[in-house]
């Protein structure tokens, strides 16, 4: 079964590469496309796990990941970006190089930590957990380092990708939980959309730094 492991490793590794690409990209549409690629990699990884472990319920998870996150959410975000008219470059709080080094540090941390705490587990589980933790931390980093609200949403969604990867690696969570999580993410997207349009109505931009100014003004009052 070395090949089975290799393919799982490849797919999860490509998800990690996508996480780094999310951090690297400075165009909003490129970020959305990368996110879609990551979700498709996730669905392939989950489907592969389902095939290797003979667990048909994982195929449903894979289909949901593909449909919701590979197609629906990117398309919805694309439309939002078009409506908001923010196709130009998005800026990061720090420059790309620093972001990359932070990302590398977080990835190394995640791998070392998971390898330390799961010595007895099966190789699929350790591998999935380690890469998933790295993807989750990179998603957090993406949310912290971006100024634009849309790219922060993408960071949030990529955290969710990491969570699903961890869940399938660790012998799966029940399908009911899975479905409810998927739909809550979809609902979160609607909430985000409403917030986005409200923020923009108020400040004429989706740069979340303008929120800080409001807070400062309130504090002074």
């Amino acid at each position: 079964m070395t090949n089975a492991y290799d393919i799982a490793h490849f797919l999860a590794g490509m998800m990690l590469v996508c996480s780094f690409t999310l951090l690297y990209q400075d165009r909003i549409l490129a970020v959305l496309n990368t996110f879609a690629v990551q979700a498709i990699m996730l669905s392939l990884a989950v489907a592969w796990q389902g095939y290797v472990r003979n667990a048909p319920d994982l195929f449903i998870t894979a289909a949901m990941a593909f449909g919701l996150k590979g197609i629906i959410i990117p398309v919805a975000l694309n439309r939002m970006v078009e409506k908001l008219g923010i196709k130009r470059d998005v800026d990061q709080v720090v420059n790309v190089g620093v972001a990359m080094f932070l990302g590398l540090g977080l990835t190394s941390l995640a791998l070392l930590l998971v390898l330390k705490v799961t010595p007895g587990a099966a190789s699929f589980t350790r591998e999935g957990l380690a890469l998933a933790l790295a993807i989750i931390l990179l998603g957090f980093l993406q949310m912290i380092l971006r100024r634009n609200a849309v790219t922060q949403i993408v960071g949030f969604m990529s955290i969710e990708n990491g969570l699903i990867l961890a869940a399938t690696g660790a012998r799966g969570m029940p399908l009911v939980v899975e479905v409810s999580v998927a739909f809550s993410v979809l609902i979160a997207l609607f909430v985000f959309a409403v917030f986005l349009f409200r923020i923009r109505e108020r400040f004429d931009s989706v740069d979340v730094e303008s929120l800080d100014k409001v807070r400062a003004a309130r504090a002074h009052r």
Binding site: T2, N3, Y5, D6, I7, H9, F10, G13, M14, L16, V17, F20, Y24, V96, G97, M100, G103, L104, T107, S108, L111, L115, S123, R126, E127, A130, L131
Partner: protein, 321 residues
């Protein structure tokens, strides 16, 4: 015939083979580029004619050029040739196998580059200085990435010696290795930066905004320029051979193999070389030159890829143990 003599001859054969085909590799790339731009392009043997012409011409020196300026081209050529001859191309198990270390290769190339940058500043013109500073910036970004690629390969194969790495990779069953894919991308980016190929530098123009390599060699003429040009061709062949050796080593002959094995070794190597040259030409036509200030991001990408490669290699090794 004793084995040492045989391997000495094989090593020598490889050395002169690399030297002989290097200009043709550049020629093929130029021809492909020209054809894709709907020009006819010079013959693929034009680089040989250029070299011959340059050797016959008088070389003009700046009045304040020192001995270093005159001797640097020969040293650069020698360093690059030694490096190119060390990479196993046709066969493995050659005489100087013990020296064909990736780290040594990086050091040899680095020494050649340092000489070029120093010599460029020797004549005291502004262009030499700007070329040297840019070259050093690119080198400082590309070298860590190339060393990390070397470490990834060494981590997988257990050695940094190229012939042993190639032997190890040939003996392995074919697998999907994401770390090797990432290392491959990183090494290709590094190779483009080091050889002054298009996203980083365009050696075909003399435009001061973008010049890197050309700015450094502007002061050279005649046989000195011929040496520098030949070193450039050799360096391109060296990097292509390195990529072939690390990622596509199949078909390589052992030095004491039969004539048929050697024929297969030469055939596959030439085929891979031509393929790489054509791919390089297609790539160069299809993208645009980058701004100098974007270089750090581009080469930083190579560093990230190499680092991720080593992390993933480490992970899969730890997990599978």
């Amino acid at each position: 015939m004793p084995a040492t003599v045989q391997s000495f001859i094989a090593q020598g054969a490889q050395m002169f083979f690399v030297l002989a085909i290097a200009p043709a590799v550049t020629g093929i790339t130029r021809k492909v580029k020209a054809r894709l731009m709907r020009r006819r392009g010079p013959s693929i043997f034009q680089p040989y004619r250029d070299l011959l012409k340059l050797v016959r011409k008088e070389s003009v020196l700046a009045p304040n050029a020192t001995w270093f300026f005159r001797s640097a081209p020969y040293m650069i050529f020698a360093f690059t040739w030694v490096a190119a001859a060390l990479v196993p191309t046709l066969a493995s198990g050659l005489m100087f196998n013990w020296a064909a270390d990736v780290v040594a290769l990086v050091a040899l190339i680095g020494a050649a580059r340092a000489l070029l940058a120093l010599a460029a500043m020797d004549a005291g013109t502004a262009f030499g200085g700007i070329g040297s500073s840019r070259e050093m910036m690119i080198a400082s970004l590309a070298e860590p990435a190339s060393l990390l690629v070397a470490l990834t390969i060494a981590f997988a194969a257990g050695t940094t010696r190229l012939p042993e790495v190639a032997q190890f990779l040939i003996s392995q069953p074919i697998e999907i290795r994401v770390s090797f894919a990432l290392a491959f991308v990183a090494l290709v980016i590094v190779a483009m930066a080091e050889n002054a190929r298009i996203p980083v530098d365009n050696p075909a123009t003399h435009l001061e905004l973008t010049m890197v390599h050309e700015a450094m060699v502007l002061e050279y003429s005649g046989r000195h320029l011929a040496m520098i040009e030949a070193a450039g061709h050799l360096k391109l062949t060296l990097y292509i051979s390195l990529i072939i050796c690390l990622f596509l080593p199949f078909g390589m002959a052992p030095f004491d193999g039969s004539a048929a094995a050697w024929a297969i070794g030469i055939g596959t190597y030439l085929a891979k070389l031509v393929l790489a040259a054509v791919a390089l030409g297609v790539w160069e036509v299809s993208i645009a030159k980058m701004r100098v200030f974007r270089m750090s991001e581009f080469l930083g990408g190579a560093f990230i890829f190499a680092f991720l490669a080593i992390l993933l290699e480490f992970l899969s090794r730890e997990v599978q143990r």
